[in-house]
């Protein structure tokens, strides 16, 4: 070990550790590990840090919360609740808020951190999706992240229900109703969850164990795996000069990211603390302890559950059937189980679908610009549109009261929008992406407009265009446009039908859906042609430029570049 500069105690400690752990290997390997820089890489960090905040504030809360449905009469300082019968869970939540100093702050920090945790997970997933960061070799890490999102939902749900107030109790009641709708085993599943009939006396202690032990332990383990994969794969990077699939360009972990990422933890925690200090959340004393009879109008679940609530609200009641005496509640099963199942399945399998339609076996470490993969981007936006419409439908009562609309007509609009809007969103997004790609081609071929008008001696006016510098051009041409799959014919040379043709044909159709419409990047030959073209044949340029373009869009006008002035 080089100890020329380190102070003696530090050197001694390092020596002690290294002799027992060989830590110098790890330090040598990791200290200056390079990470690329981009604001969107912070989204995953926000998720990680809000989870740490959840652990810190959560430990504080467990010191005072009593996970019991045992009944007590309230004799605390809150006069409005005096003498009321309530569960120990609710009473201890009141105690946490009004008698434990800093308790309300920790409760509010915990709740805000949970909302931020889910929000950052979702936006992080969006970043990964739209930039294609899930491609080989990261498909498995996408799955790990997907499971983390589900566990996040579960953590939120189990925690939300713990205070045993009217709102959370009704949430559990809805859960019970949904579970009962499951064919054959639904009633038993309800008993399984509640230890008997709803609500019983077991649900709060059970949720508590899940919330503070099982779910966080799983999340912690999977976060470890998630980050291990990041180290193993090295971080993806956005396209740019010198960034290839064989390197990673950025800054070293020590000191830059120790400071930036370490500092960012304090920023995230700070923002959550500010929210906890200034924005009240879940004032359970206004709702009162759970009672099966009352319910508040305009009640909303936490935002990440809104889509389920909206899905339940949109479904018409007709499809409940009795078949041979058995009741099949499709009016609950479809919105609460089938629709979320389809949405989540899409997310989980998407990387594998894309891998199948590209047949691309290479590793990808340079991210896609979303415009360069129009169908993926369109599908992502369509998915978000469906999710947002369901979430809005979950607030249809608030929309109705705020905008003085009929709740029935809002519901009908959303029922149609749920099917039509994602299709429209897909189509519009795809067209926008293709348009942006064509704009990129146009810029590469003809340069930026300068606004400078030049008059030639013959009286002709032209606008001077400034060609792109090589970095700017590289950003717009340094991609590959995937093409539809080509498959072996149905019959071989001797006319024998081959196996698996039907499957290949379906895959080819799907591949066509993805890549039939595409815009190829400009090649050097095209750029040269565009230049010479402008020089010799200005007036006729629009037609020929269009021929150069593989998707036949007219990018050329009568343009000249700076060379013209010479």
């Amino acid at each position: 070990m080089t100890t020329t500069q380190a102070p003696k105690p530090v050197a001694a400690t390092a020596d002690y550790l290294d002799q027992r752990t060989g830590i110098s290997h790890a330090v040598k390997g990791f200290a200056r590990k390079v990470f690329p820089d981009h604001w969107s890489f912070l989204l995953g960090e926000v998720a990680l840090y809000s989870f740490v905040v959840l652990l810190i504030s959560g430990v504080f809360l467990t010191m005072f919360f009593v996970p019991s449905m045992g009944l007590v009469e309230y004799h605390g300082p809150l006069s409005s609740m005096s003498g009321q019968l309530m569960s120990e869970a609710f009473a201890s939540t009141l105690k946490l808020s009004f008698e434990v100093r800093g308790g309300l702050l920790m409760r509010q920090i915990h709740h805000w951190a949970a909302l931020l945790f889910m929000a950052s997970i979702v936006t992080h997933m969006m970043r990964v999706f739209f930039t294609g960061a899930f491609r080989k070799p990261r498909e498995l890490n996408w799955m790990v992240g997907f499971v983390l999102m589900i566990l996040g939902l579960l953590a939120g749900f189990t925690g939300y229900s713990l205070p045993d107030d009217v709102l959370s109790g009704n949430g559990l009641r809805i859960t019970d109703g949904v579970v009962k709708s499951i064919p054959v085993i639904g009633s038993y599943l309800s008993y399984f969850i509640f230890g008997g009939e709803f609500p019983g006396e077991d649900i709060i202690p059970r949720l508590f164990t899940l919330h503070i032990l099982v779910v966080p332990a799983l999340i912690l383990a999977l976060i470890g795996l998630h980050l291990l994969f990041v180290v193993l794969h090295k971080h993806t990077q956005y396209p740019g000069g010198g960034r290839t699939n064989n390197n990673v360009v950025g800054f070293p972990l020590f000191p830059v990211y120790v400071a930036k990422a370490g500092g960012f933890f304090f920023i995230v925690f700070g923002v959550i603390a500010l929210m906890g200090a200034t924005m009240a959340i879940n004032n359970v004393w206004n709702y009162g302890p759970y009672d099966p009879s009352p319910v508040g109008a305009g009640a909303q679940p936490d935002w990440y559950m809104l889509f389920l609530e909206g899905s339940l609200r949109l479904m018409p009641g007709q499809p409940e059937f009795v078949i041979a005496g058995w009741t099949l509640s499709l009016n609950v099963l479809i919105p609460a189980v089938v629709i979320p199942g389809l949405l989540f399945t899409f997310l989980a399998v998407y990387p594998f679908v894309e891998a199948a339609v590209t047949k691309d076996k290479r590793e990808h470490h340079v991210l896609d610009r979303p415009r360069n993969v129009p169908v993926r981007t369109g599908l992502g936006v369509a998915f978000l549109t469906a999710f947002i419409i369901l979430a809005l439908a979950g607030s249809n009562d608030l929309i109705a009261t705020h905008f003085h609309l009929s709740i029935n007509s809002i519901t009908w609009v959303f029922r149609f929008a749920f099917f039509l809007a994602p299709v429209a969103a897909f189509w519009i997004t795809k067209r926008i992406c293709l348009g942006l790609q064509r704009k990129d081609r146009e810029l590469v071929l003809h340069g930026h407009e300068t606004g400078r008008i030049v008059r030639f001696a013959n009286g002709e006016y032209i606008e001077v265009h400034k060609p792109l510098d090589e970095q700017e051009r590289w950003l717009r041409v340094g991609y590959e446009a995937n093409r539809p799959l080509e498959i072996a014919p149905r019959e071989d040379a001797r006319g024998v039908r081959r196996k698996g043709y039907a499957f290949d044909r379906q895959l080819q159709k799907l591949s066509g859906f993805f890549f039939e419409d595409r815009v190829e990047p400009v090649t050097p030959a095209e750029l040269a042609a565009a230049h010479s073209h402008g020089e010799h044949d200005q007036l006729d340029s629009s037609d020929s430029a269009a021929q150069l373009d593989p998707v036949r869009d007219a990018t050329g006008h009568g343009v000249v570049t700076d060379e013209h002035k010479h």
């Binding site: 200056r32 390079v34 300082p77 009004f98 702050l105 920090i109 070799p137 009641r173 809805i174 019970d176 109703g177 949904v178 009962k180 709708s181 499951i182 054959v184 085993i185 009633s187 038993y188 008993y191 399984f192 230890g195 008997g196 009939e197 709803f198 794969h233 740019g240 010198g242 990673v248 830059v256 500092g263 960012f264 920023i267 700070g270 603390a273 500010l274 906890g276 200034t278 099966p292 009879s293 319910v295 109008a297 305009g298 609530e309 009641g317 007709q318 409940e320 058995w326 009741t327 509640s329 009016n331 609950v332 009562d397 090589e470 970095q471 340094g478 990047p521 400009v522 090649t523 050097p524």
Partner: protein
């Protein structure tokens, strides 16, 4: 620090056009203010120190606020303490965060570094060696030669989780008696009482258009017991008095109401929320959770929303003293549908 990725380029002979543009390499490094001007660097250092100082003051402020602001059990005092302590925490954290990031962005070296990547896949040699190791291990274990042993180990491992699963699953659902869904504590002659105070209801006191939230009349100690909440979750009822002229009743249910007073289960037939919002003008009952709407004047049939079935009706009558009583329990399970509901 430029690096050209020449491997992907295909050049044809004779200096002709490339098929793709060459990677121009990492852009030229740009110096920041603090790199060029020592004064700017000094300024950035001062700013960083000030940010750390804000954090120190924030920590002190938070601890002071923690002891100064006392909780008096009112929402007002709790709010004030929460705001003061929370703001202190905010400054304590934010100061450190901004200082560290500012330091990194202005003063730490921002020269790009380039690391090589290597394929995830092990090389062929490594793969072969790995397979050889596994083969050797399998050979040592003798598993391939002893199929009986293989069967035994797989079976034992597959079965042993039952030792935990069976006791857990059999106990976790209580008595597993799902026939309880079919009954509530309403019985022939149970008096109707107001929720939550338990006062009895005289038919004569219920005016037309009024709505009463009802629970079965049970002794006080029963209502303070642990079992009550589960019974109440099935037994809550909504009582409405309509002008008898507005009431549409089927033949078999003509005797279930009393002079325009009808009683329906308050538990939504969709997923079980309390159907608590009554619109007097339209006689509609609205569930605030998912907006299932029931017409009280017409057998509580569904007029909108995700519920399919009408709310179950509680047959009522009046006893000798003029109090409303139940004629019997509901004739169907209340609340959400389930597979064996009609069995």
């Amino acid at each position: 620090m430029t690096e050209h990725n020449s491997s992907e380029l295909t050049t044809s002979t004779g200096g002709q056009q490339l098929e793709t543009f060459p990677d121009p390499g990492v852009p030229e490094h740009k110096l920041r203010m603090a790199d060029k001007d020592p004064k700017a660097a000094k300024r950035a250092e001062r700013q960083t120190v000030v940010l750390f100082a804000i954090s120190i003051l924030g920590t002190i402020g938070m601890i002071v606020a923690f002891f100064v602001f006392r909780l008096e059990g009112t929402t007002e005092s709790t709010r004030n303490a929460n705001l003061a302590v929370g703001l202190g925490l905010f400054f304590a954290l934010m100061g450190i965060g901004l200082a560290a990031v500012h330091w990194a962005k202005t003063l730490m070296s921002d020269h790009e570094h380039v690391d090589e990547r290597h394929p995830q896949r092990g090389s062929d040699d490594v793969r072969e060696a790995a397979i050889a190791e596994l083969k050797a291990g399998a050979e040592d274990s003798g598993i391939a030669r002893r199929p009986l042993l293989k069967g035994a180990v797989v079976t034992a491992l597959a079965l042993f989780p039952l030792t935990i699963a069976v006791p857990l699953v059999s106990s976790v659902g209580g008595d597993w008696d799902i026939s309880k869904f079919k009954h509530t504590i309403w019985k022939r002659g149970t008096r109707l009482a107001i929720d939550p105070n338990g006062r009895l209801i005289k038919a004569a006191d219920v005016t037309i258009g009024s709505v009463v939230h009802v629970i079965p009349d049970v002794p006080e100690e029963e209502r303070r017991s642990h079992e009550w909440i589960t019974e109440k979750a099935k037994a809550v009822v909504l009582l409405v008095r309509l002008d008898p002229a507005d009431l549409k009743e089927s033949e078999e249910r003509k005797t279930w109401s009393h002079e325009g007073i009808v009683a329906y289960s308050k538990i939504c037939t969709h997923v079980g929320c309390p159907v608590a919002l009554y619109e007097q003008q339209t006689h509609h009952l609205l569930c605030p959770c998912h907006q299932s709407t029931f017409d009280v004047a017409d057998g509580a049939k569904v007029v909108f929303g995700p519920a399919k079935r009408p709310l179950p009706q509680l047959p009522i009558a009046v006893d000798d003293e003029g109090y409303l009583i139940a004629q019997d329990d509901f004739d169907e399970p209340v609340g959400p549908s389930y597979w064996g509901r009609l069995k």
